[in-house]
Amino acid sequence: MAEVVFFVASLGAIGGAVGVVALRNPFYSVLALVGHLLSLAALFLLLRAEFVAAAQVVVYAGAVMVLYVFVVAYIGGADRPVRTTGPGLGLAAPLFAGALFVELCLAMLGSGLKAIDAQGAPYEAGFGSPGQIGELFLTRFLLPFEVASYLLLIAAVGAVILARRRRGLEEEGLEDVPTVTVADLFRLEPGVGTQAESGGMLQDRRERDERERKGGW
């Protein structure tokens, strides 16, 4: 049974990965990636890492991939298929990928590690459970855990900087780019996020505020 699941999931994972690269339509690429991630989740299940498998499905195949689908749908690009840039790259890329593939195969097949040919490391009760993972995060990997959270914060800041550049650097001077003040953070404007905002009723009030703001410092 385990062998059947392994081969089905492996073929799914490889097929999905090939599909991500080979498919011309970005939307199909994202769907292939979803298939790839689901197959990986099945492989994690085989390794008795139930929590990682569930997280893989919920976080990656669920949340992150939905985001990808939204982005692809929002930006479009289905009508403009991705092209490779030139014959040099088209030749060199598969060459290097092939070299890496051979290298990794050598590493895996040529390895003298005993566990590779056997049933693998023995299974310990509680391995990979949420409790154990949480414990590792708070003990042995406390520092990496904290660094990772700071990394996510700073990546979000960077994304905001890059996304902000699209908006109107050409049409308005930089001085006019509205800046949020600390006071604004604590003073939630009434009506934000409601139908009134999308209907443009908040717009008039904002413009009034803007005029006042320019007067003061």
């Binding site: 040529g110 990496p144 800046t179």
Partner: protein, 519 residues
Amino acid sequence: MTPEAPHIDWAGLSPIVALTAGGIVVLAAGLFRGAWLRRYGVPLLTLLTLGATAGLSIWQWGEDKAIVSRALAVDDLAMFLNLLFCAGAIAAVVLALRDSSPEESGHGEWHALLISSVLGMTVLASAQNLVVVFLGFELLSIPLYVMCATNLRRSKSLESGLKYLIVGSVGSATLLYGLAMIYGATGATGFEQIATALSSQAGLIDDPLTLTGIGLIVVGFCFKVSAAPFHQWTPDVYEGAPTPVTAFMAVATKAAAFGAFVRLFDVALIDAATNWSPLLAAVAVASIVVGNVGALTQTSLKRLLAWSSIAQAGYMLAAVVVADREGVEALAFYLAVYLVMNLAAFAVIVARERETPFGDDIRSLAGLGASRPALAWPMTLAMLSLAGIPATAGFIGKFTLIGATVDGGYTWLGVAIVVGSMLSLYYYLRVVAAMWLSDVPVPAAREPVPAIAGGSPELDAAADPEDGAGQDAGPDRPVSQAEATAVAVLFGAATLFFGILPSPLFDLARDAGSALGLL
């Protein structure tokens, strides 16, 4: 059984705590309403943070401990590198005071990214665990990718950021693959456990899994230190990025990556040295050749320094190959020297970019010796030092590097360094010649330098258009660059000082070199 929370040595962690807190404060300070506060308050807070980090690192000098579940090492090598990161970042903040990139991307965000990058370097340089290595690597890189693209009005800046992101991600992925292989082979993520596994289990050193892991890690690090043949991104990224960012990236990233390189290879993988040293030696020689040959024909100063940095990465890799205490000492010393001479050169480029219409082209330096000796001398010293002329810090640095390679049994690598330096004289001296031997070019747009800017920072400040003087300059370019000149003079003087009196720096490097416990 209730899990025991690890003991946290707050004193040892203090430089990292200072950087984290400072980054958050600076990010929030970017929301100040007053433009003046944002423009000068945020850099001031950033300088305070970096100064505090440097101070705490000095306070922790002489300690030798592993903190937070042995994830980080607090030793003299880490603290030495911390000081280098802070020096590079402080110079970048000062050079960026009047740059357009913080203005366009938001002062708070720009400086918070800079501090985060320093934090990543600090984590990377003291990492003692494969997981921490990778996270430090990413925390260093991701802010830099964004900072390269912060000159929002130039498409070259975006191109630089995008290229760095893509190539850097390939490097990160390769590194991660390699780290996973090493974990798979040894079953451990901590450096000491890896070293124990490699030394105790027979045949593990020559196992294909270990070898592949080492190979992939070398590739990942070589991307970051821009060693050939993984260097192709360097000239484009250096040229496109805002010059203060380039200056920081050139000196600090290299120090961080070499710090992690030497700790990982000389501590965790030291028993496999017979396998990786020929590989690294080949990469070092390739870098020396490619970097020096590539720089010969460059006319853009930033590209020239990029190619020169590839060659310098080759010189420094030679010190990693040696894998003994003398090698680490020479590497630490050279990293400091490299920082000093490159910052002097980049400060001059920043000043001339704003003063002349030629950007970072070599023409922007023409006639500098007569018109702005305060800029010409630091640049001259930096170029002579990069080439390794006696009485400059670069000579002492190369001398120790070559000494370490010869003592370590790699005399031919020392010969490669000498030959590379001879080649490099051609392009470094070309820059010097442009400053002292050629006349001021006829500018396309306007006079490059008013006669009043004789060189001293006081005079330059007096000629500042914001004070009403120096009206003959273009409307958008301030004429004098007092702060860039000050940075150039400071680091130019340091280049000369450490060239004549290297012992203070050498003592620090010796402490740093003995931190890893090598023979």
